[in-house]
Amino acid sequence: MRIVEKIRQLKESECIVDTLRSIVSENECVQCGKCVFGYEGVTQLQMILTDLTEKKARSTDLAQMQELCKMMSSQSLCETGEEIAQAVLEAADTYRADFEDHIAKKGCRAGVCRKFMTYHILADRCTGCGECMDACEEEAITGKAKFVHIIEQKECIQCGACMDACEEEAIVRAGTVKPRCPKRPVPCKRRD
């Protein structure tokens, strides 16, 4: 599928910024290196888009990407560089709001970019087993045996390790809508 098609047929569950980031990372220009605009241009796109998905964007990023892509589409040595640049330009036009949300660090509409997500432990599912606490390297989870565990959002780095560790599926990732959870450990309702 051509890059533009991929972008035009973006699903609701896909984030344009993250999709573009992975398209750019797989682009052939990354494997070539024969022209500055192709190779260094794609390198810059990769770094900028990665920062966008990781909540590290700068306010000037969108304009800079557009400027760069205009140059890439006329100055790359082959069509590969032109194609990727035009895809980025079209995406920036079509999904401008999504880019702006990422840049303003408001959120990821599709709920794909982890850094924009929060993790929560559902009180009715938690058995207080402590597996998630062991998995958390940031020590962002508090709790004790048979008590519902709590994720301290200030400490959490959104790595998702707790979610993988929980066998009870008690941990969920949330975008803009957050579940209601206790503020401090309470006795578990589940006893098995």
Partner: protein, 700 residues
Amino acid sequence: MKITIDGKVIEAKEGQSILEAALEADIFIPHLCSHPDLEAKGGCRLCSVEIAGQTGAVPACETKVRDGMEITVEGETASKVRKMAMELMLASHPADCTGCPKYGKCELQSMYQYMGVSPQGWRKKSRSVPNDDSNPLISHLFTRCVRCGRCIRACQELRGVKVLDYIKTPAGIRAGIPEGKSLAEAGCRFCGACIEVCPTGSIMDQVKIMKEERSYAENIVPCKSTCPAQIDIPRYIRYIKEGAFDKATAVVREKVPFPETLGSVCTHACEQQCKRGELNAPVSICKLKRAAAAGDSGAWKGHVRKDAATGKKAAVIGAGAAGLTAAYYLAKKGHDVTVFEKNEKAGGQCRYGIPAYRLPEEVLDREIQTMLEAGFALQTGSAAAAPKALLEQGYHVVLVAVGTHKGTKLPLEGNDLPGVYVNADFLKNARMGTPLPVGETVIVLGGGNVAYDCARTAVRLGAKKVHMICLESEAQMTATPDEIEEGRQEGILLHPSHTFHRIVGASHVQGVEIQKIEKFYFDENRKPVMELAEGSSQVIAADQVIFAVGQKPEGTDALGLALVHGAYIQADENLKTSMDGVFAAGDAVTGTKSVIEAVAGGRKAAEQIDLYLGGDGDISEVLLEQEVPSAYIGQSESFASLKRVEPAVREASDRTSDFCLVEQPMTCEQAQCEAQRCLQCDLRLHLHRTKLWNEYQGGV
């Protein structure tokens, strides 16, 4: 055709690119990935320009000129492209220019300073690669690679060696050697073109081979720059490789008049510096010279220089390497030259010092005969009058090149006993067919090449046992490793690191008392200190003792010239002595050196004397048209491990019974094979040097 660049009309040639036309007209346009010797690729976009009637910017390196073309270098679009291209490159390039070995000579650095651009605003990317010094001669510092591809194009297309390419690494794409091979494994020919074309500090000559006291060209071709006579070594070796032995000899003869003699006895300091030595063993430069000279047909004679007669008379005292060389070139300059030689035959140390098994009589005779064709008179068997008398006789100038023919003895107890010889007498008598008597056992005192000449001559004169005793350790001995090895094969018993206390004997030599040296060093006052091993003193019995501890000039006190260090003739940097019109050269000035040093001294004397006689001092000769060597060298399997070719050497048991040649010249096949090993370091100097912006008129 005419084109206009920034309003300036310049001449351009059909088929040229805009960049080529501009640079040729001394107008600077920034550029990085293009190189005058390589095909343009247009990858860096620094040379972007605008053309009237066309929208957008185009790379000047890839756009051919058309008559009447109007070009703007700093148009808005082109400048924007150029600026962003440079910013992008800098964003992934290390910022520590001052820590880079290319600092001040880097094209990237020069270019961004010219453009006043920095990578600010862009995200920085580090593509760090460890520096690699594991290859011979070439350092790889690929952290600084800008992927311009110049080294790759040079290696692939220009040289045809096809070693370097774009490679994928975890840190990104860069120039390098595919499949993780070393340069040697990949088939590198170490020509250095990659180093020469690299605009940044990514591919560099290894620091250890770039000596500060030498110029760039001298460092690049160290064999040639090390040769006292500056023989164009890579050039003649290339001809040998092609089987053009005549041309090879012509190249050698442009600088020295005794190619075969030198090919037989030269100390070949060039080989110590040969870069091939860093791969496995140096090219056999000296023996190749001999092989070429042995196959010489004399075709070069058709090109020899012979200037009109000047009417000036020059006298040369001493027909050794220095005197003959000076006479040869002075005669070519049109001067009337007479050489006076005290001995029966010309040749000096080559005739009376070097044993015949290294340099046969007929080789020397032939080469001296050829020299005489330059048209100078040689009077042998007659001692010359003193310089002052010669000047009074009507000679306009006198050159003293009497050499060092007097062997020296150390102040040792028993040094005047019968049976004690000195090197010069011993070798000369052997060479003249009237050898000094030699008994069963002979001791040679000394550790240089002359000591070996004495020891090996003694073996050939019938001595059953020959000892060599020297103060130096084997590693510090001045004799060449070849000499030491051949001497060992001939049964010479070497006692390195030994001092000699006295020569034992009542009415004739009976032996030498020696003792092992444990430590030898220079103290804080730079005085030599010797610590001896206790109880190691012993007497080695011998019938004769030969001092081979140096030679000095003989009879110089009668010349009426100022002397230094005893018997040596005082001469200034232009070889002028204390007497006007009298010059001196060779061993009598420099102390005992080598034939090649004497030849170099003779050439210098000829230049200075020619100047003195009113000439221009230029003795250069073109015996062969300069040809531009092919830049394409192609692939050569296992090039780095090609073994040094050794010519046939007679077995020790066979060769010690006579004075015939020990080593044969290389056969033509051997020579061609050995010549293949040359790295052709000089090809680099044929590449165009890229100029920095401040070297263009239009750049400042």
